[in-house]
Each structure stands twice: as structure tokens, then as C-alpha cells.
């Protein structure tokens, strides 16, 4: 009985967080179309529901009932596996998103609230799952037997693994200061106002450029450069299989933006959250206010993504690769050394 109750509570928590993330991911497409529409002096979506708010729902339903075309000469097993491999890592990475903090003693039926899995290797878990995403790309590109798909897959896989290195290196400075891989510890180490964005500005810059490239967003969207590669690695996908790629991309967009919030913008901290010296915990003056700050900060990063998309032209592939290896990588290693030297008194 105890076991069933425990699993039921975990399931409820997971379903809530999953539902919230799905909602955010779906309506991010609406936000993106509206913002880019406004920036280009267009109206954007407006027909379905007030302000076109039901557009993501309509798109989802349409894709659900669309025919799925299996191209000739495709490798069936990898072709079917690729959308699953693209979406599952994205769903898995929401497990470690800390929407808000709570006192260590505060638990609902033995579960830490506001975070699906409070594990002590949080950031390694994210890296592990995001490293799996090139498999989805390569499988999709290779199995389709389409030249555009294969070129797009090769490009994006090489891009993602290249940018993974500055992505991983840039936060080592923070780990040195905090001394923990747990995301809640990292957020609490920043307190209300000592955000890492001004204690580690170089790392923040490198991290931000890397996450834009990691999520294959403009101006680094070379894998799906519409003007040259049609749609990149998912050119041959249609219907629900296509929408799984799409969904994975938007979930990853939100998760990665929230990671920027966790590492550099102080997570859920903000006004009305103060440190209780007596009990040695952070106290939210208004319950749930932390979630609001967290979503606002993360959504600001999502907005910057869209801002970049509306402002910047696409960068050439060779420029991107040499920028990663010749500029970002040395910069992130330099950042590790500088942080180590500045924190020599810790030794």
C-alpha cells in the first residue's frame, strides 16, 4: 500500500511538471510567431481564438491527423526510432528543472516539491541526456535516404558536439565556487542578488552562445537552414513524427533557458524571498512567488532567443565551427583558470 501510494504521488508530480512543460512548449510557438510578427511589422497568428491563442492546439490536432509518409529506400527501424530519440531526452531533462525552492524539511508525502527529481548530480544528468540528442538527428538524417536530411544531420551533429565543449566548460567556474552539482545548491549559492551573471560574466556569455547553438536556433540553425537544406534532418518526416521533433525542440528551448536562469540569473530568487537566519532556509513571503520569478526569468531568455532570430542573419557553417573551436573554447578554459586563481584562498 505504502509503495503504491508513493508511486502514485510521484506520478502526480511528474504529470504536473510534464503538463506544465508541454503547455509552455506548445504556447512558446504562439509567442514566437507573435513576437517575430511584431518585430517584422506583421500581425502574426490571429484567426484561431482570441489573438490566435488556440493556434498551437489547432497545429497539434492537424499534425495528429496528417498522413505520415514513409519515403522509399528508408531504413525503417532507425526511421521510426529517430523521433522517439529526439523527444525522450527532452522530456527527461525536465526532471531536473527546479521551478522553485523549499526548505529541506518541507516535503509533500516525502517528495521534494517543485522539482521532479532533486538529485545531487543534477547538471551531469542534463549533460548526459542532451548528449543523446545527436543520435536522434543522425538516425533521422541517415535513415531518410535524402541528401538534404543527411547533410543537415551531419551539420547539426557536428555543431552540437562542438558547442557541447564550451557549454560544459563554461559552468566549471560556477561549480568551483559552489562546490556542488545540485541545481538547488547552485541557486541558493547565488542568494537574492549575487547572481553569477556578474560574478562570471565571461562564462555567462560563452554559455549563452553555446545554448543557442545547442538548441539549433537562429542564427545558428544551420541544420535546418530553409534556404539551402529544406528542413534539415527531418525533411522526410510528416505528421505526428514531425511534430515530435518539433515538440522536443521547444521543450529543450525552455529547459535550456531555465538552465541559464539557474546558473546565472539566480533561479527562483527575487523580491519577497528572504533568508531566514534562524532556521537557515530561504522563505517565500508569498507562497509560490518563486515559481513566478523563475518562469519570468526563463521566459526572458526565451524572448532573447526570438529577438536573436528576428535580428540576425544566419552565420556560415565554417565561421561557426572555427568560432567555437578558436574563440569560445580558449575563452572558457581561460575562465576556468581565472576563477581558480581568484579563488585560490579557498585552497
Amino acid at each position: 500500500m505504502e509503495v503504491i501510494l508513493g508511486i502514485a504521488i510521484i506520478l502526480i508530480k511528474i504529470l504536473t511538471i510534464f503538463g506544465v512543460t508541454m503547455f509552455i512548449a506548445g504556447w512558446t510557438t504562439w509567442v514566437e510567431r507573435k513576437i517575430i510578427g511584431d518585430m517584422q511589422f506583421r500581425v502574426g497568428v490571429e484567426r484561431t481564438g482570441p489573438y490566435g491563442l488556440m493556434q498551437p492546439m489547432a497545429d497539434g490536432l492537424k499534425l495528429f491527423f496528417k498522413e505520415s509518409i514513409v519515403p522509399d529506400g528508408c531504413d525503417r527501424v532507425t526511421y521510426e526510432l529517430a523521433p522517439v530519440l529526439a523527444l525522450v531526452p527532452a522530456i527527461m531533462s525536465i526532471a531536473i528543472v527546479p521551478f522553485a525552492g523549499s526548505a529541506d524539511s518541507f516535503k509533500i508525502f516525502g517528495q521534494t516539491p517543485f522539482i521532479a527529481a532533486n538529485i545531487n548530480i543534477g547538471i551531469l544528468f542534463l549533460f548526459a541526456w542532451s548528449s543523446l540528442s545527436p543520435y536522434g538527428m543522425i538516425f533521422a538524417g541517415w535513415s531518410s535516404n535524402n541528401k538534404y536530411s543527411l547533410l543537415g544531420a551531419l551539420r547539426s551533429a557536428a555543431l552540437v558536439i562542438s558547442y557541447e565543449i564550451p557549454f560544459g566548460f563554461s559552468i566549471i567556474g560556477i561549480l568551483m565556487i559552489v562546490g556542488s552539482l545540485n541545481l538547488i545548491d547552485i541557486v541558493n549559492a547565488q542568494g537574492s542578488y549575487h547572481w553569477f551573471i556578474y560574478r562570471q560574466p565571461v562564462a555567462a556569455l560563452v554559455f549563452f552562445i553555446s545554448i543557442v547553438a545547442e538548441t539549433n536556433r537562429p542564427p545558428f540553425d544551420l541544420s535546418e537552414a530553409e534556404s539551402e537544406l529544406v528542413a534539415g534532418y527531418f525533411t522526410e518526416y510528416a505528421g505526428m513524427r514531425f511534430s515530435l521533433f518539433f515538440l522536443g525542440e521547444y521543450i529543450m528551448l525552455f529547459v535550456i533557458s531555465s538552465m541559464f536562469t539557474v546558473f546565472f540569473l539566480g533561479g527562483w530568487h527575487g523580491p519577497f524571498i528572504s533568508y531566514d537566519v534562524v532556521n537557515n532556509t530561504w522563505v517565500q513571503a508569498i507562497p509560490g512567488i518563486g515559481i513566478l520569478w523563475f518562469v519570468i526569468k526563463s521566459y526572458f531568455i526565451v524572448f532573447v532567443y526570438m529577438w536573436l532570430r528576428a535580428s540576425l542573419p544566419r552565420i556560415r557553417y565554417d565561421q561557426m565551427m572555427s568560432f567555437c573551436w578558436k574563440v569560445l573554447l580558449p575563452l572558457s578554459i581561460l575562465n576556468i583558470f581565472t576563477t581558480a586563481l581568484l579563488n585560490l584562498d579557498k585552497l
Binding site: 514513409v70 522509399d72 535516404n145 562542438s162 566548460f169 552539482l181 505528421g239 557553417y317 578554459i333
Partner: protein, 121 residues
Amino acid sequence: MDHPYLPILILMFFAFIFTVVTIIMSDLARPSKPNAEKNSTYECGAPIFTDARGMVSVKYYIIAMLFLLFDVEAAFLYPWAINYDKETLGLFGFVEIVIFIAILLVGYFYAWRKEAFEWES
């Protein structure tokens, strides 16, 4: 029932079931009328002249090897960064990591001089 990895296991089951069930349900609901034209590989309307799976530029292999090198370095740096304090590492740990990164940087500059990061050539 408060093992921290239990939610991850459940989420993993859930993620796989969600994706597979969505695809299967969509397959049951959608129409399916394939024909030769529709199923042919998309190549902007032009007839297909070769198989897509040809040879791949050696650049990608070089990038993959360099990635392995630096990713292993990152895997070593993470535990080091966590233990950057008096009790575990001390000054010895700092000197060690300087030597470790210096050795890797030699390889990095070698790759740079060998034009591994140039895509035009």
C-alpha cells in the same frame, strides 16, 4: 519511497510510453494512401540520381575525435571543480590541473596548427 532516482525511472517509462503511444494513436487515426510519387525521396522535384548515403567529409571525423578528447577532459574537470577546497584538494590539486590542462593544450594547438579547425581548405 523517497529515493531521489525513483522519479527519474518513472519519468523514463512515462516518456517512452508517451512518445510511442502518440505515434501509434496517430497512425490509427490518420489516413494512409501511399503512392509511388508521394513516397519518392524529396529532392525539390528533380529526379533522384544517386543514393544519398555517400561518402562523408573527413572533417566530421576530426571534429568527432577532438570532441572525444575534450569531453573526457570535461569529465575529469567536473569532480575536480566540485572538490576545489581545502579539505580534499588543496594547492596540490591546483598545480595538478594546471599540468593536466597544459598537456591537453599542447594537443589543442597542434590541432590548430594542423588546420583541423579550418573548413575552407
